[in-house]
């Protein structure tokens, strides 16, 4: 009875503002500032998975830093993103190298832009595409159109749960010609840090069957004090 009532209320509710919904949804995994650890698993057909562990720092919508903490041979490698710029620290060469935002991140299916695009609502214009059931969840479908050509994808479809959590459920990424490149699923909803959230992101390659990369958040601190100076190439060189 209560679920029928809830469904009736949702059906009667006015459609949400798409930009505000997108802004709320993208903050549900990582908030405004965060320090987190994660495990990335790159899966390829007929190959054992490649597993990398990292520690990350995020400040606002335009600053991010990720350091590899394992396996031992990759430890120390680090990525820094500030606005549209991305740098890579190569510990073996002891050198900072600029890299493109569209470059694949860590040899997996996420691009640097996917990992560090900290504000979808800033890079894309959102419109409401309707209500759909995706992954067993009642969702709003948002259609995102790139504001300019600097971002990795021309169009993104983005599904957000209607149950009031604003958790994202799925995203699909398309080229300018309309070809689907890959899709992202937000899974393993549960408590991590101070609140519940999707704890795993799974990116699947639409062009290469069986290729997927999983990101599993292991810990998240949502209220760290982070200085802007942490997000500089000097900090990359210095190490943690």
């Amino acid at each position: 009875m209560s679920s029928l009532l809830l469904a009736a209320l949702l059906a009667a509710a006015p459609p949400p503002d798409p930009t505000a919904l997108l802004q709320r949804a993208e903050k549900t995994v990582l908030g405004e500032n965060a320090v987190y650890t994660l495990r990335m698993e790159v899966q390829r057909p007929n190959k054992p998975p490649r597993v990398v562990e990292m520690k990350g720092w995020k400040k606002g919508d335009d600053k991010g830093l990720l350091r590899y903490t394992g396996p031992p041979k990759e430890r120390g490698t680090a990525y820094l993103r500030v606005a549209a710029s991305t740098w890579l620290w190569l510990p073996s060469a002891e050198k900072v190298v600029r890299v493109g935002a569209k470059q694949n991140f860590g040899g997996g299916d996420f691009s640097n832009g996917d990992i560090f695009r900290l504000s979808l609502s800033r890079d894309y214009l959102a419109t409401l595409g309707g209500a759909e059931t995706v992954e067993g969840q009642e969702c709003w479908r948002l259609e995102l159109k790139a504001r300019d050509r600097s971002v990795a994808y021309d169009r993104v479809l983005f599904w957000v749960r209607q149950d009031g959590t604003d958790f994202p459920v799925r995203a699909e990424y398309y080229t300018i010609s309309g070809r689907k490149l890959k899709w992202l699923t937000f899974t393993d909803v549960g408590r991590l840090g101070a609140r519940a959230r999707p704890r795993a992101l799974v990116m699947e390659n639409a062009l290469e069957s069986g290729q997927r990369t999983e990101l599993h958040f292991l810990s998240i601190d949502d209220a760290p004090r982070l200085e802007d100076r942490l997000f500089t190439t000097s900090a990359l060189e210095r190490g943690e």
Partner: protein
């Protein structure tokens, strides 16, 4: 030196908190096929046709709390050719202290490693130059004190006082090794998604320079331009009143997860043009002919030996080569989920068409083990720059275990 390295080994064996220590042990074998060329006239360097270096290497990094880090990198090397000898060498050994995000101080033997250039860094005359033919080699550090200050997220300043060797030492023979003392300032800015750095350096045993370094990303391509202007040449003749420009500019392009391409052009303003090069070759030929003549008077032979040593040394001066125009391209491809990486590097001296090719492969079967093998082949017309080198080919194998 030997005692210092043993001390590092002992420290590395002590227990450490989880995540505070990084340790890497390696075994390297470098094979060199040598040649008697104008730069090794009559085999003046005393090389065997086949020279081998066998190395054991150690890299150790240890964090002490949040603000102190100790770093050491060293090797013990045994030459197996005509002059078998064992050598201990610390490439790096420094302590680092960080005062929050604002200031970092490093003291000891260390890499400076600034500049956006890949194979050439005209703004970095602080440390021992890298070998542009073989950038996979681990570089020597400079004995230095370095202070990094970050007053804001968009600006930083680095001050360095250093003493370093002028030439790299990854050669199968001993070369004269003059030293220089350097003071350097590098101011770095991030302006509209563009890296901009201004460098001023100078000191004893070197020229003073002013440098500018620019880098930014254009879509999938990262581009850079790093240049320096200075007065007086590093190579002979000194040309004390002339101003020279060095410039390295290039790009890095990545496609998908597999493929990385880099290309870079280097202009060395003090490098030799055709006429200077012919004169240099004439001096080499003339002095080596006198040295080879058993009937030459002793005074003439002594004078020829001095002239030959000074002339043969020119391409190694500053570690940047003999000519003016160079290009390098590199291709790298990863496959099998990153377990295999294949590489190909090519450096071309545009003045004479000589070419250094370096194909290589890396195998990483586990997260703590890598095996790298690469080869170097020097091609080009006789008496072209790379063919004058006393090396014809090299094969380098490295096994590294990470803890």
């Amino acid at each position: 030196m030997r005692r210092g390295i043993l001390l590092v080994v002992l420290l590395a064996l002590l227990p450490a908190p989880a995540g505070a220590r990084e340790l890497e042990l390696g075994l390297e074998n470098f094979y060199y096929g040598t040649a008697t060329t104008l730069l090794n006239a009559g085999n003046v360097l005393g090389l065997s046709p086949h020279e081998d270096l066998l190395r054991g290497t150690l890299r150790w990094r240890e964090g002490l709390g949040d603000s102190v880090r100790l770093v050491a990198s060293a090797y013990v090397q045994r030459r197996l050719g005509a002059h078998a000898e064992t050598e201990w060498k610390a490439r790096q050994a420094y302590a680092q202290w960080s005062g929050g995000e604002l200031v970092t101080v490093r003291a000891g033997r260390q890499r400076i490693a600034w500049g956006s250039g890949f194979a050439w860094n005209p703004t970095n005359r602080v440390e021992t130059p890298k070998n542009p033919l073989n950038t996979s080699l681990e570089q020597e550090g400079a004995l230095a004190v370095r202070l990094d200050m970050v007053p804001s997220a968009w600006a930083g300043v680095t001050l360095v006082a250093a003493r370093s060797d002028v030439r790299g030492q990854d050669l199968p023979f001993s070369a004269p090794q003059p030293r220089r003392r350097t003071g350097a300032v590098r101011a770095r800015f991030l302006v509209r998604d563009t890296d901009l750095a201004v460098v001023v350096s100078g000191g004893k045993g070197q020229r003073s320079l002013v440098g500018l370094d620019l880098a930014r990303t254009l879509g999938a391509v990262a581009v850079h331009a790093e240049g320096a202007v200075y007065r007086g040449a590093e190579m002979e003749p000194a040309r004390d009143d002339d101003h020279f420009l060095r410039l390295a500019t290039g790009l890095l392009w990545t496609r998908g997860e597999h493929l990385t391409l880099t290309a870079e052009y280097f202009f060395n303003g003090e490098g030799y043009g055709d006429a200077q090069r012919e004169e240099w070759l004439r001096l080499l030929r003339g002095s080596s002919a006198v040295l080879a003549d058993p009937l030459a008077p002793p005074e003439a032979r002594a004078a020829a030996a001095r002239l030959y040593a000074a002339t043969a040394d020119v391409p190694f001066t500053g570690g940047l080569g003999l000519g003016r125009h160079y290009v390098q391209g590199a291709w790298s491809s990863r496959f099998s989920a990153g377990r295999w990486t294949t590489n190909l590097r090519a450096v071309c001296a545009l003045g004479d068409g000589s070419l250094a090719l370096t194909p290589g492969v890396e195998w990483a079967p586990r997260g703590d083990l890598t095996l790298t093998v690469d080869a170097i082949t020097l091609l080009g017309p006789e008496e072209s720059e790379f063919r004058l080198a006393p090396l014809r080919s090299a094969l380098q194998a490295r096994l590294k275990v990470h803890f």
